[in-house]
């Protein structure tokens, strides 16, 4: 059986070293936070200017001045800090974040990332912090389903969608396999509900 999003989030969380400074992208990657052990010491960074972000705010905790990158109200943990946008992006661009987890339309076997724009005419491009995270974090993990709705692999020899960054992704976490990517090409680390041989046949990369 392929993994559910929650099961996959737990696998990503398992691989984040204790004490890491981590940025979780909008969407699926946000769920990784729910699976980090309480004692992991992982510090979450949100691009709009906060370290040691806590879980989503509920009820009386909701404060319009305290939101995450997805504009969702969140909470602060003891030891949190706030800073302006140039400082927040210096943390990314200056190589201070240990790990970021991003979603993707496509990843190439050499680690190119396409996740900001479909490139379709009429689609309004919106990049946000994706390009800064892609080039800045020490390790860039991608979390996505391996196949699109038409059954085509999103791990590709060369991205056809507009690029976010070149050679920036180190590992791809998918519902059927965890795959390392980089200058040496793709290496399957583990599979879920599929053998490595079956996976190679379906991927054709």
């Amino acid at each position: 059986m392929p993994l559910s999003t929650d099961e996959l989030a737990a696998i990503v969380a398992r691989d984040i070293p204790p004490g890491s400074y981590v940025n979780l992208g909008i969407g699926q990657p946000t769920k990784v936070a729910d699976h980090l052990p309480r004692d992991s010491g992982v510090v979450l960074h949100t691009e709009n200017g906060m370290l040691n972000m806590g879980p989503a705010a509920t009820g009386d905790q909701i404060d319009p001045d305290l939101i995450n990158a997805g504009k969702v109200p969140v909470t602060e943990l003891p030891g949190a800090s706030y800073f302006h946008h140039a400082d927040s992006f210096a943390m990314m661009r200056g190589g201070h974040l240990d790990v970021c987890v991003l979603g993707a339309f496509q990843v190439s076997v050499t680690g190119d990332l396409a996740n900001w724009h479909t490139g379709k005419p009429g689609d309004i491009p919106a990049v946000g912090g994706a390009m800064d995270l892609a080039i800045g974090a020490k390790q860039v993990f991608v979390m996505m389903t391996l196949f699109d709705k038409q059954g085509r692999s999103k791990l590709v020899p060369t991205c056809t969608y507009p690029l976010t960054g070149i050679g920036c992704v180190s590992r791809v976490y998918t519902d059927v396999a965890v795959i390392d990517v980089g200058p040496g090409g793709a290496t399957v680390r583990e599979t879920f509900g599929i053998t490595a041989d079956e996976l190679r046949d379906r991927l054709a990369v």
């Binding site: 001045d65 939101i67 302006h84 912090g129």
Partner: protein, 222 residues
């Protein structure tokens, strides 16, 4: 004598903003959005504006209302498309507004550079992507960097939590976002704050934006 003047109304605070101005607008989504100043700018009537902000308006309030009023010629931002950006989306699809999409870190650093007197800078963000097309590049330490120029404002409209009468500002939580850098990067910086306190009312160690950067202050309408 301080550079900052405390004004009685948002209308006074935005007076004199000219047609065609480049206006830096603080906020990330609605957090830190200077609503009173934007509403006053709509009443003031300046048009053909270039707006620099992280987003291109949410819902029908704040920046979205300024767009809706037809005062904005061009938006420079990192993330226009959101679930509630229908005002911008409609204008863009109708060809009534120009868009320059800038990676968020470049947006922040270009604003910071403008305020700090940096003529331009090289950064790897966007190298090899369509957002770096036509820009100068240089390989530094084996890595391709892209040349980026400052973004300077004629005016910055920002929101802060508290000001003293010297113009020193402190912010609150993630509403800080672009406020401190935009304050440095405009010829005239206008801040709306929730509270104005006397000189000495802010801890100097905790001041985020020193008053040298702030020209006009107005307390938010309750």
């Amino acid at each position: 004598m301080s550079r900052a003047r405390i004004l009685d109304s948002a209308d006074e605070a935005v007076s004199g903003i000219e047609d065609g101005s480049t206006v830096l607008v603080g906020g990330f989504g609605l957090a830190g959005m200077p609503f009173d100043l934007i509403d006053a700018l709509i009443r003031q009537g300046a048009k053909e504006l270039t707006v620099v902000s992280n987003n291109a308006g949410n819902g029908e309030v704040g920046l979205a209302a300024l767009l809706q009023a037809g005062r904005v010629r061009k938006v420079i931002c990192s993330f226009p498309r959101q679930t509630d950006s229908h005002v911008f989306d409609g204008l863009y699809r109708a060809g009534k507004i120009e868009l320059e999409v800038v990676p968020q870190g470049n947006l922040a650093e270009r604003i910071r550079a403008a305020g700090a007197g940096i003529g331009a800078f090289y950064c790897p963000t966007g190298a090899g992507t369509s957002l770096a097309e036509g820009k100068e590049t240089r390989t530094i330490d084996g890595r391709v960097h892209v040349l980026e120029y400052p973004i300077k404002g004629d005016v910055a409209l920002i929101s802060a939590h508290r000001a003293d009468t010297m113009g020193n500002l402190v912010y609150r939580k993630t509403a800080r976002n672009f406020g401190p850098i935009m304050a440095t990067a405009a010829a005239t910086t206008i801040a709306q704050v929730r509270e104005v306190v006397p000189v000495g009312g802010l801890d100097p160690e905790a001041v985020v934006t020193p008053g040298i950067y702030v020209h006009r202050i107005v307390q938010e309408a309750c």
